[in-house]
Symmetry: C2
Subunit: 339 residues, 2 copies
Amino acid sequence: MRAVVMYAPGDVRVDQTERPTIVEPTDAIIRLAATCICGSDLWPYRGDDEVDHQPMGHEYVGVVEEIGSQVTSLTVGDFVVGTFFSSDNTCEICRAGYQTHCVHRGPGAVPGAQAEYARIPHADGTLVATPGMPDDDLVPSLLAASDVLGTGWFAAVAAEVGPGKTVAVVGDGAVGLLGVLAARQLGAERIIAMSRHADRQALAREFGATDIVEERGDEGVARIKELTGGLGAHSTIEAVGTQESMMQAIRATRAGGHVGYVGVAHDVSLPGEELFFSGVHLHGGPAPVRRFLPDLIQLIWDREIDPGRVFDLTLPLDQAAEGYRAMDERRAIKVLLTV
Amino acid sequence: MRAVVMYAPGDVRVDQTERPTIVEPTDAIIRLAATCICGSDLWPYRGDDEVDHQPMGHEYVGVVEEIGSQVTSLTVGDFVVGTFFSSDNTCEICRAGYQTHCVHRGPGAVPGAQAEYARIPHADGTLVATPGMPDDDLVPSLLAASDVLGTGWFAAVAAEVGPGKTVAVVGDGAVGLLGVLAARQLGAERIIAMSRHADRQALAREFGATDIVEERGDEGVARIKELTGGLGAHSTIEAVGTQESMMQAIRATRAGGHVGYVGVAHDVSLPGEELFFSGVHLHGGPAPVRRFLPDLIQLIWDREIDPGRVFDLTLPLDQAAEGYRAMDERRAIKVLLTV
């Protein structure tokens, strides 16, 4: 089968590889309907994370092709949405809603979903079947639910977004933009998107942003303070993962407010004294998308939300390298790969 | 009047100083009934914070001696408990329960409460009158409510302590011990106190600890994991403020769990990537004791809790220097100064 492999930073190829097979009786094999490139895939692409012949991709929707002998909740032919960490969804941590920390999860994200087929461990816990075969136009949104929507949603929940609240969103990538959408769905009164790109500003407004702040860093914080009577946002979504973005998020939030951070931290070190005196709540990490997936699938199925709008470039799997380049050069917010 | 002044690290004296007077119409002057030495006073005492002829003390109970023209909720002769940061208790931040971050609070803690008299800004917002003149035996507990009880209580609330939960407490000073008491009051199922001092272990058990862990650092974390089926505590109270104690608290907590940290951070730097993948909630800072004060006073008044047990040494104000020495040398958990 064909699969995307990152040989080295900047070197993405589509290889012929072995089609995966059932290894554990709890596995399923799915035939991908669509997959995509994640903002986090850019870390190794840019040389910020190590990479050496790595099968890529951890966002996926597709059709169940084969199931292991212990899989009970799925049948061959089901259309499923999965999440980037496999989880049994039965352990104490999963039941508390933190499936990304499942005690039986694998050592890392589900690998190799930018491919024709993928093996999904803990299929019963990891995959959620849609109510039926989706119309083609729903596929991008279901694919978004697999990671970026679920991650933006978790960030909004972690930031305790709710009615009457002012929300600031740091980061205008797909996750930040879908954090805006989540904040709107969760009833936020005011949503301030921090972005200096016209196309992303437009999509942020479409998803529910009421204000745009173009300034960054301390200037951006000052603008958020201006817009909130000097106090700062009640809830801030951080969707970048750098030192600057984390400090921007913490400083933009009022004492007693909540920062939900989902940008994978890179070279971040939080100064204890400043954090202490900020009085904010901090919560985040790898989003337990599985917690939200049934509800998100339903919202998409009912056409109440359209998170697939974040895909502004669609390419066939064979052109994955061009997809990486387009995201790296910020020519695309997020690239969908058809399989 | 007599007042405790720290001339330099290790050099504490009782000076004759000017008795304070009303400055703002919202001030009150109180005559101290009792005051005490805070664990945080040991930072400058040990040279870890700068200090130069600093009037000391920010924990106090006493009788209202004089009020400014705009003070409406108090009358001369009231017995009051106050908090270490003054707050108007009416601004948006105060109303959200974060009085330590009041938009009108002063530049630092209420200074100079280790004295015969003290000026309290924003008296209406900062002070809470007791239901009447307290019996003498209630005074230590009311004094504890002024800071250490309220701080331990906030830590427990920030750590989302509640029924069915396992709570770990890092730090066996007065705040940590009263965090144990708070956790018990808030219904925790299991309370693991981390302490290697027999006297503090005994008091922790008296306050409600169900388990004691003597190990510290990574070994302490391993013991907490052992006691919690490998998962870690649901809620961890951090009451020290060092790098080691913060990491111990974070690592002792399960994914999705809560760390409530109230030890004033000193040279703490939190590694972003580890924090991200820990999946914990982090909340803390200078405790908004004022939020809890009415309820805590009532619990003490009704003799349902006895937080004054943390005072294991009582000295007259004139012997403040000996009190500092006793706490510095860990001969005393907490020193009460009679005025």
